[in-house]
């Protein structure tokens, strides 16, 4: 009787150890952070990765420390002009591990931009595949930045109050980004209130 029981336990122990050993022997695929194609597709299909230049302008003005801008254009373009505080990761070097420090932030929003938004979006897709989180694309790129933020168009008389508010904010932001001026501070203070609203709107879009 006792013999039989100890044999049962012996067999069960061997089975358990065997199960664990099979795990060791199993062929391992690359099990790093990389996400599978079907998941990547879902992320690609999600428009929550796009942020407006207004949103970035506001965070730059407020000197938000949780913002990391990444310029994916060439080194040459980067050296001529870029946004304040941006680091340069040329698109064709996007997958290089040396950029991990700039892209891998738990507590920062990393925003990619190019002249338009196509290259930035391609860079985003590659970084999304590599499993990076909190990465966004600046919608419209520098083109829209120049158009909306630096040379805003005055809305027509019939435009809604909101449109005017956005316009005044952009006007103030234009002054801020074009160069130092003493009027900036007073001009920006009221628009900050308006921007809080903007931020909410953006997060609501992401929630959909």
């Amino acid at each position: 009787m006792i013999m039989k029981i100890s044999r049962t336990y012996l067999i069960l122990s061997v089975l358990l150890a065997g199960l664990a050993f099979v795990l060791v022997l199993l062929p391992k695929t690359t099990r790093n952070k990389e996400i599978q194609p079907d998941k990547l597709l879902i992320e690609i299909n999600d428009p929550a990765r796009f942020v407006n230049p207004d949103f970035i302008a506001e965070r730059l003005i407020n000197e938000d420390p949780s913002l990391q801008l990444v310029d994916v254009r060439t080194k040459d373009q980067f050296s001529k002009f870029t946004l304040p505080g941006a680091v340069n990761i040329p698109l064709n070097e996007m997958s290089n591990e040396e950029w991990d420090e700039s892209l891998n932030h738990e507590d920062k929003d990393v925003i990619l931009f190019s002249n338009d938004d196509l290259y930035a979006d391609q860079a985003w897709i590659i970084s999304a595949r590599q499993g990076y989180k909190n990465i966004y694309v600046m919608k419209g790129g520098l083109n829209l930045w120049f158009k909306d933020i630096l040379s805003p168009e005055k809305p027509s008389e019939t435009a809604s109050k909101e449109e005017f508010e956005t316009y005044y904010f952009r006007k103030a932001a234009a002054q801020y980004f074009r160069g130092p001026s003493s009027i900036i501070k007073t001009d920006i203070a009221p628009s900050n209130v308006e921007l809080k609203k903007k931020e909410k709107k953006i997060s609501a879009e992401g929630g959909c």
Binding site: L15, E34, I44, N96, N115, G179
Partner: protein, 210 residues
């Protein structure tokens, strides 16, 4: 204490555990889709002339008798139904990895048929393009423009975007924005006009967003 020496239930429980794992392996099939390009490889050949196609060429493809290309519309079914380019097939972006759609595309690619992707804007087409590229598709291009422009086919969306992505190379353009004094230059009027499609694209996608 007698139960301690009873191993019947233990055997059953262990058998269930092992059966669970064995069933898992029996039903386990390798994922259909695997990246064949590493991220480094995927970043090669992304320049616009290599990866995109303009509307002049598209017109040629549509009009030519001997078709060696397929237009793929990756917008959703409703958008496709309300108007699409003649001869384009509809595979909504979100369904692009469905077994049927995917194997169809795969067959086309292996038969050396050129796959040309377009979407509601350059970004949607780009999304499909980038995904398939990483999965190893070779004979594939996308139209980097929005559908409204593509459908007219008299405006070369490619050239426009190329222009946009190559802006700000020039000191004079940068200066006129960064330096307020040159604002009244006559050339200032030029860039905003060119940017028009981008503005539209923005409207479009924010509608699609929610």
């Amino acid at each position: 204490m007698a139960e301690v020496y009873k191993t019947k239930r233990l055997k059953i429980a262990s058998a269930i555990f092992i059966a669970l794992i064995v069933i898992g392996f029996l039903t386990f099939h390798k994922p259909l889709y695997k990246y064949t390009l590493t991220p480094e490889q995927a970043l090669v050949g992304l320049s616009l002339p290599e990866s995109t196609i303009g509307s002049v060429e598209i017109r040629e493809i549509i009009n030519s008798e001997k078709k060696n290309a397929v237009l793929v519309d990756v917008r959703n079914v409703q958008d496709y139904a309300s108007g699409h380019i003649n001869g384009a097939i509809n595979i909504p972006l979100i369904d692009i990895l469905n077994e049927q759609n995917y194997s169809h595309l795969r067959d086309l690619d292996q038969d050396q048929v050129n796959i040309i992707i377009y979407g509601k804007d350059h970004l949607q087409a780009n999304g499909a393009f980038m995904l398939l590229k990483q999965l190893g598709f070779k004979n594939m291009k996308f139209i980097a423009s929005e559908f409204d422009i593509i459908s007219k086919m008299n405006n070369d969306g490619l050239k426009e975007l190329q222009l946009l992505e190559n802006m700000f190379m020039d000191d004079s353009i940068i200066n006129q924005f960064v330096n307020p004094t040159s604002k009244k230059d006559s050339t200032t009027e030029d860039p905003p006009e060119k940017i028009t499609p981008v503005k539209k694209a923005k409207k479009n996608s924010s509608e699609g967003g929610c």
